[in-house]
């Protein structure tokens, strides 16, 4: 056959499909940009929720706020994956565009291509690292939380530059019919592709929707049955899944020991409570969600002692942070600080039970912290010491 191409490095004009048009890229790009925007904002909210004293104090109401924002974060990130793949497919020939001849154009286009390289690299990095994190797969050497956060700024910054550079083309192609060829490359063929441009764009949206339906069951209960790729089915003791087990952090012996005592400290005043001492105090029951950064969440009916009631026993004033120490032997959240607005909230409790049953060991027996609207990692399990700061 005479027409067999010499493959390895193609030229821009070798790509003749009418589908690889700015009219397609811009339409998919708008929704990709919306997904990135929502993921960025909800990511910032999650970052705020992880800082003890952020710029704006994290609210304690609505109790399910973090559950919703973090669920949205993972949902928009997931939807962005098919959109990014189709978007990159549509602009793939650009990779092989020849550099301009004039020096000045070379500098401008070099900068533009540099910004696109940063955008593509950071976008793939964010979606891939976020996706792997949802399933708790960490095959890398960087710190996930800190790096995912810093890379988000790089991705959004390069996205804004990209939008600014392409703004005239974006306006033109979005204002015209999708089949309009004003900004198409001259090398594009006349041949009808197997699918229309509109069909391709709808296909990308459909794939994004299917991706969400197939995964979001971990955070949206009604999707539990359809989400065949959800990281959790939602089952677990008391109807709540387990993220970290007692065995994993070596607390089994200490948590089950009859000598267990919770220490409550305020200045020089210290009080000790056994599990049965805690059971003697006034018990309250509240529905509170556990919501994790990985996007999964579940609501439970927790019962136990209101934290404020305990603090009153040692005469702690209102408006103070509390250091929470866990029995767990290792892990970054062994010692955390509960900000004052959560300390004084009437819903914040030291939970002793879940769904009317004694707290399971993997849920934090003998007692765990449960506060409204906090990321799951701060709902400290196996609490051994509370210190008024």
């Amino acid at each position: 056959m005479a027409g067999l191409p010499t493959l390895p490095i193609p030229k821009e004009d070798d790509f003749t499909s009418r589908l690889r048009s700015p009219a397609v890229a811009a339409r998919v790009g708008v929704w990709l940009g919306i997904c990135f925007g929502i993921a960025f904002v909800t990511g910032l909210i999650s970052h705020e929720a992880h800082v003890t004293h952020p710029f704006i104090a994290f609210p304690t109401r609505p109790v399910g706020l973090y559950r919703v924002t973090q669920g949205l974060h993972v949902i928009t990130g997931t939807a962005a994956i098919p959109l990014l793949l189709v978007k990159l497919w549509a602009v793939f020939p650009k990779l092989f565009a020849p550099p301009p001849r004039k020096a000045r154009e070379l500098v401008v286009e070099g900068l533009e291509r540099g910004s696109i390289a940063v955008l593509v690299g950071s976008s793939i990095f964010q979606l891939a690292s976020g996706l792997l994190n949802t399933s708790q797969w960490y095959p890398w050497g960087f710190s996930f939380r800190a790096t995912h956060y810093t890379m988000a700024w790089i991705a959004i910054g390069s996205l804004i530059v990209h939008i600014a550079v392409k703004l005239p083309i974006i306006r033109d192609v979005l204002g015209a019919d999708i089949e309009d060829g004003k900004h198409d490359r001259p090398g594009m063929g006349d041949e009808q592709p197997p699918i229309s441009r509109r069909g391709l764009v709808r296909g990308a949206f459909l794939a994004a929707g299917v991706a969400v339906l197939a995964t979001a069951g971990s955070s949206v209960p009604v999707l539990k049955k359809v989400s065949v790729f959800a990281i959790r089915s939602g089952n677990g003791p008391g109807g709540i899944p387990i993220n970290k087990s007692a065995k994993q952090v070596d607390v089994v012996a200490a948590a089950l020991s009859p000598d267990f005592r919770l220490t409550l400290a305020h200045g020089s005043t210290e009080m000790e409570f056994s599990r049965s001492d805690l059971e003697q105090l006034r018990q309250r029951t509240h529905d509170l969600p556990i919501a994790c950064v990985e996007g999964w969440s579940a609501s439970g009916t927790w019962s136990g002692v209101r934290l404020r009631d305990l603090l009153d026993l040692v005469g702690a004033p209102k408006g103070r942070d509390v250091r929470v120490v866990s029995l767990q032997q290792h892990g970054p959240y062994k010692v955390t600080v509960l900000p004052r607005q959560f300390v004084d909230d009437p819903l914040t409790m030291l939970a002793l039970g879940l769904s009317g049953e004694k707290l399971a060991l993997d849920h934090g027996y003998p007692c765990r912290l449960m506060a409204p609207d906090r990321p799951g990692v701060f709902q400290t399990k196996w609490v051994s010491r509370l210190e008024v700061l």
Partner: protein, 144 residues
């Protein structure tokens, strides 16, 4: 418009620069590990996934000269992209013996159900396009 674009570019550079500054502050080891993944992602997409998709399309449409109906293209996008993003759960790489509630579904069976349903819908759309109202080789779910 030029002014708006200028402001946007300045803002974008400042925001991205802030991210780069924070990234450098995370230490050299972290930076090296990050750059590996940053470059690796682009190489995997531009050097492997992109060419594979292009080669597949080339073989089907140019060498075998198969006339692909629109619903098959849409089905391919859905099946391909969703399978790609299901790799972490299909491989259960993050699973641990002492955490039975994580990755606790039969994902392979789930994938077959998902793939089967996609094929059924695609087949239905192709048949409808061929024999349904309007007749001819209509575009099915692709629309036109």
């Amino acid at each position: 418009m030029l002014a708006i674009r200028g402001v946007l570019i300045a803002a974008g550079v400042a925001i991205g620069g802030y991210g780069a500054y924070m990234l450098l502050g995370l230490g050299t080891d972290n930076l090296v590990a990050t750059v590996k993944w940053l470059v690796g992602g682009v190489v995997l997409h531009d050097g492997v996934l992109g060419p594979v998709v292009i080669a597949l399309a080339f073989v089907v449409t140019r060498i075998a000269r198969i006339k692909v109906p629109a619903p098959v293209v849409v089905g391919g996008i859905v099946l391909g992209s969703v399978t790609l993003l299901a790799i972490p759960v299909l491989g259960r790489f993050g699973a641990a013996a002492d955490r039975p509630t994580l990755l606790d579904r039969n994902y392979v069976a789930g994938w077959f159900a998902f793939a089967g349903l996609t094929l059924l819908v695609v087949a239905g759309a192709v048949l409808r396009g061929r024999f349904g109202r309007g007749g001819g080789d209509g575009p099915g779910t692709g629309g036109r």
